[in-house]
Subunit: 310 residues, 4 copies
């Protein structure tokens, strides 16, 4: 029953946050320290330019700085899976080519957004991106942002046809996730990751190959322990670790409701925790997102302390 | 890590289907046989008048027939948790009183629907129903029908205050489900059930007290095995059983897309399987739902056969 | 271009509110006064047991009291169009039969709710209700409550087949509304009403036969003037009246955001205005809805005064 | 009651489609002919790089070609209102600056998308874009794409503060649209456009300053007549013209359901009509959108012929 991590892409693959300086620029040295913190925590890969990186808010120049910085620190230690975040096919292809040139080992591609698509256009979209770019592509299922759930049958077919190398699932639909795991079990080197912070133990029980938790920025070692327990078939330990991590996840509820958006509350909490831990210099967010304030920071400090992270 | 089923309400609690005769009446003798089939399968409780019972489609007289029939066969062997399905507080209270008189050991109550409510009205709703009725109440979280997700904090508070005895979760939000399990762990006799058919192993890994699967009508013994494995802490076996059950669940996709509604496809599949297994006489649905046809029935037969259920 | 109100059902048809006494009972004498107030205001019909009547919150006994009271005051002066509000076909038929017995001249029927339906089931639903009840039926398109938009083509077909006598549109989709008006123009005695308070002038410009505004409880004479102007082809006057009424409609925003639900804010505002105007005794709402408080009442008073309604 | 078009931005302002050659490139000469066709039809402005231009599908280079081409034909005859379509603030500013350099007289800016925002971030977004760019900005309210409805109070405040010069409303919420028209009536040079094809007569009755109909590509003269009638206060004639145009709009339903997406069906119909009218060479769509096929084209031909457009 143990997971067999034979694929190149597996395990704990946190989506790296993008630290900013107090005047709002990408903070390269803090980003270097986050990357080192994650590698030291025992992660198996890095997801670059994901939602946790505030990728929608980064200009194209900033995106390039982020990829170059992380690639420099990583120096080939673990695979870099990089988001090619654009709204439609041809724009994704342009962005994906740029990311490959910057050092991506694989790309993460969503369905089209802002555009209003159907399943046929979505299929063509992934096939066209694959045909244009010579690199493994992970389909990113994130309906809370794209407002489109990637259908199970489409994902299985794209996997079977070698169009996609796997799926990063942030759909929140764990039934479909398990059905996908079962339906694609015979596709070689097809890797499925959950984007959850919580119920990662259940995802691994269903034989997911990896996890891409934003909270992994804060507690990479916790997720590494959870993953190791699951690989060893010790799910009772995995569940205990998951329960502890679920308490750490309460940092995302520290923001005063209504003061900042839900997005800023979550990503802001990760940055604030990293600041408290001395990994990055500020908890500044990309404009127009507001940073957490001092009382919210104090609430996060309490949660980190009771979980042994400070 | 094993689950400790100390509560009266726990384990496998299938939502009993409502068989109909070929002329559309409630088929009492088939319903008696389904009830016996479930008890023989080793279930720990029966959920009466749930969505799988087609409760929205039953007239009040039909609802009474259903409860009386199941209570008669059960004769106190397992607890009867009965849906008090009405749109607003005072109507729920009238319906709940009726169900208690008919033999309910506990009630299942949703938030208000058709009405457009907020969290305060929802809280008052549950408190008023509890105050009016002297019976354990399970909050039923089913946003696909009510279009309202019961908030985690409200559920915990209602549990702590003794207003609700537990939660039946059909929200599909497994992160919130795990958070609820953790946040309510210290509330005595507070029982949380998942409404999933799939990922029940993960729910039990997180220490859910029970499962209310519509598919449990078809394969009660399978769910009983899954539950037993989890109680014993053998999650590898639970996951293997879950994988097998997930294939059985494919019967809900047997209907020709567009010919019947998604609701009729799922519930119709359970009835069709029970008909093929000789438990009930017809797969007739409540009007205006269409029954599955012969080719759809044939597809279900194949799935049941390959899973040893025929 | 003037509207030709040749049908029995046309013009201003307010959905009558349900006053309650301070201890929460249906306030029969206040309800009698509201009914008289509307008839005196020059309305062309009464919509009984609509959303503005808080129909989802009324027990069946209360619904009967409401219909009997209004029918008694009306004494046949204008048509009574009565809501048969239940979740599925057979339950609607039972409720509709009861309403006809109580004096309904026509029924208003929604698509099924809580149930999850498709277009075929919805069609069967309306055809079954029509076949069972010998009375004109208006389809009530209210997706904010049913979570299903009645398709244009279905409404036209049901009209052509004599299944429905018209449509009460609260969909908010004014493009589909205009398309329905045009597509059904050749169906004899097919009457289409807008449920809007605002843009009623535009609806009448497109030749809607009537309007069912909750705000018509407060200002029936204003809507009667708007309708008369439109019938006379004087749309400039209709638009001026609409602009004035749109300011009266601001009473629904008087409630402190978050203190009461949006539903309670709107319906509570109508009741509060009627209380201030001396038509009804209290602004008490059906439990668990909260009534507007004194400061919210004061805000409504200002709006009524500046519009000459106090 | 007549509309007083004193502002620079008013009247019929069609969103210009982007013709493509049979090999998928932007078809510059066809685009020149569309532009001329619109100017000849009597339009009062041109909306460049809107949804009807397939803007989400255009690469940045293609966007530049489109703006340059239209600006070249227009040569200052009517104002060019250009979409600065990007997902977040700083990316919008970069894109907006580029569009101003290419000749935009005003910009159209949506709320942030893919990003998950709240009202405060949305306010900062518009204020930041305004502060960075010295050009009139129209807020584009298009929740079907952005999944966020711009709140009435925010729009009024941004108008009062000179941050936005107006609103292009494609929200489909005609009640909020009328409330916005009334609430902003005293703001000088604040121009509100409806994105509707249908119920434009009602929008003008409520004193909208302009209309941005995709169908205006096909029938600019029809919309010019509708607008002229409304400006003259002859709403009966405006409604008759609207009824006729509503039949022309049926071209968007010509596509076989399921064969192409809803987006491709609508925009593809406009292109197919223009092709049939000899204005553009092909009805090729941006990849991965499919073009309408020959039988769908034949259906459109019938509709155009019966409305005198062929």
């Amino acid at each position: 029953m143990a997971i067999a991590p034979t694929s190149r892409f597996h395990g704990v693959i946190p989506p790296v946050v993008t630290p900013r300086t107090s005047d709002g620029a990408v903070d390269v040295s803090s980003l270097e320290r986050v990357t080192k913190h994650l590698l030291d925590g025992g992660v198996n890969g890095l997801f670059v330019l994901g939602s946790s990186a505030e990728v929608p808010y980064l200009t194209n120049d900033e995106r390039a700085v982020v990829v170059r910085t992380i690639a420099g620190v990583n120096a080939g230690q673990v695979p870099l899976i990089v988001g090619a975040n654009e709204q439609t096919t041809n724009r994704v292809i342009e962005e994906g080519r740029r990311m490959v040139d910057l050092g991506a080992d694989a790309l993460v591609v969503t369905s089209q957004y802002y555009a209003i698509s159907d399943v046929n256009e979505t299929e063509t979209h992934f096939r066209s991106v694959h045909a244009a770019l010579n690199v493994p592509i992970f389909a990113y299922d994130v309906p809370v942002r794209t407002h489109y759930k990637l259908p199970l049958n489409l994902l299985v077919q794209l996997g079977r046809d070698g169009v996609i190398a796997g799926v990063k699932d942030s759909s929140g639909d764990d039934v479909a996730f398990r059905q996908l795991l079962i339906a694609s079990r015979d596709i070689p080197n097809f890797d499925i990751f959950t984007g959850h912070e919580v119920v990662v133990d259940g995802a691994l029980l269903g034989r997911a190959q990896g996890v891409v938790p934003g909270l992994g920025n804060v507690d990479p070692a916790g997720y590494a322990r959870l993953y190791s327990s699951a690989v060893a078939g010790d799910f009772a330990s995995a569940a205990r670790e998951q329960d502890r991590i679920t308490d750490v996840f309460n940092i995302v509820y520290a923001a005063t409701p209504g003061r900042v958006s839900a997005g800023a509350a979550g990503l802001g909490a990760f940055k604030t925790a990293l600041m408290l831990m001395g990994v990055i210099d500020t908890n500044v967010m990309s404009a127009p997102l507001l940073a957490l304030n001092s009382s919210e920071t104090a609430a996060i400090k309490v949660i980190l302390e009771r979980n042994g992270l400070l």
